[in-house]
Amino acid sequence: MTAPTYDLGKLHGGLRLPGEKAASTARDILEAPVPEQLILPITQHVGAAAQPVVGIGERLLKGQLIAEADGPLSAPVHAPSSGKVVAIELWPVSRRHGEKAPCIIIECDGEDRAIELAETPEPYTSLQPDALLQKILQGGIVGLGGAVFPTAQKLMQATTAPLTHLLLNGVECEPFISCDDMLMREHAMEMLGGTRILMHALGLEHSYVVVESDKPEALHSIGEAMADLNDPRITLKQVPTIYPSGGEDQLVQLVTNREVPSGGLPTDVGCVVQNVATAAAIHRWIANNEPLISRVVTITGDGIAQPVNIRARIGTPISDVIGLAGGYTERANRMVIGGPMTGKSVSTDQVPIVKATNCILVLSKLMPLAEEKPCIRCGECAAVCPIQLLPQQLFWHACADNEKQLRAHGLTDCIECGCCDLVCPSYIPLTEDFRRAKARMQELADEKARAERARLRFESRNERMELEQTRREEELAAQKEAALIAGPGAIRDILERTGKKDRQPSNGDPE
């Protein structure tokens, strides 16, 4: 096996958090059976909603396209199993904005019949990078690390910049989540296959697979798979277990010691970061022609009887997979989708698993936190901030709703990792305040953009009206001149011809 390398860059701040991953990694990944019903939101990615291309009552096969990408930033959706479309309606989903979203609801027939392939998949090496990117776009692949940015568009954007490295993000730094860990343990080959496809699509000759030190099993199985593959272009890299080193910009800094500029992207420093699960999904699509219709989800927390990782079809209701994990315990009290630091609470287990769902966390009753106290400006938050922001300053300016200062202090670069919350001795919910301040800033920016558009439209309308006015005046002047040149005789002739002899022209004589 190949040994991992350790030379690393510097990362500011961060926290060593308890992993809480042992419970869910004790068993192999469970394959979830076909559920009775699949609920597929048409927006499972960043960008414009996909447009449904199936009607109610239509019979579907597994892998069939049911909603196509719409616009420059979008991703298609495919049917995860065979069945019939029973409705396209609003359904509760787990999302940051709003609780319900349009979904395509499929009643499965249980046969799980796959769509017939028009042609056998050709090897990716025979495809040009552009064609390969187009193919990735059709697979509905999005970033499975949590941001769900359409992968093809991310790669297309990346090809416009000079690149040096591809980073495979196997740093699953948030407590409780272990789906990438299990995927790397059991399907390291798939992930490495995806890495090679990505390198071909980007025309890169070097890539790093980055895994945290608390995943020895994953490191071992990747090492073995790499030895089998014997591809010198791929290097395995081990990084220390510090939250939030799995953030895209943080990972780039840690591995290459290059800092992503404020407001910039990793491509600005020549790097592309892809999640390991995304790479595996790309391999499944390009090599096996299976679009993104399933993913590994961690079901864990002290509210779950038998925590486990499950490969479930996208659209499976959460209640089904919780049943597979032994159901709830008596202590189950609240449910979070995502990790404990960045996840989002949901109130119902009827929400479906979507492409973004990496973890379902059911926890017991929350210990009541101590009351929020005034900031004592101890600076603990600034010490742990991985972006090197000054949360205590941001907090003041957020309270004062001072947009200018918030921008000057770099609030837009905050990744909402929650480290400052955890260390605050005054129990100030800083991340929540920052989230709200960000939303407010966005609101103000939208308002400004809208006002600017209205101003431009108003001005161009005024310009147009003035132009029309001068044109009309010119036309009238020209007509008058023509009449003067022709003389009164001509005017009389015209009037006679139109049969209006009775009405004499009032100003027949030229002045």
Binding site: R450, A451, A454, R455, R457, F458, S460, R461
Partner: protein, 166 residues
Amino acid sequence: MWSTVFLAIITITGIALAAGLLLGYANRRLPANPDDLTDRVNELLPQTQCAQCGYAGCRPYAAAIVEQGEAINLCPPGGDDLAARLADLLGRERIPVAGTGMTAGSMACIEESLCIGCTHCRDACPVDAIIGAHQFMHTVIKQECTGCELCLPPCPVDCISMVSAA
């Protein structure tokens, strides 16, 4: 020694005189550009173009504030918040907005079954947010409507109502 003192006095006086003349000339030949200030005032205004201030739009109102010293509290959509910002910018006293009118966040909606296609509302819209031709149904471009309510009075069949923009 006295000659040194006189030399110093003459030099300093000379520099002061030259600088004074230069500044005086610059002040006369390069007058302060009121357009800059008008632009900055205009930037603060909400751009609804609703004409509730008594001027034909936001830009004319901004010009009136700067050039004729018009009151800064005539804009109901901007509210007290805007009046305060204007006061800060212009160094005037903060005063609350006079009267109430439309507020931001609403948009016009044409009841399409009632529209007779008279084009009156289309011509009244200050931001060209209504489309329609003579004797054809009209409609509002949702994204462009500023909610100024200027299309309401000209409508002969009262088929336009204001709805929440959200």
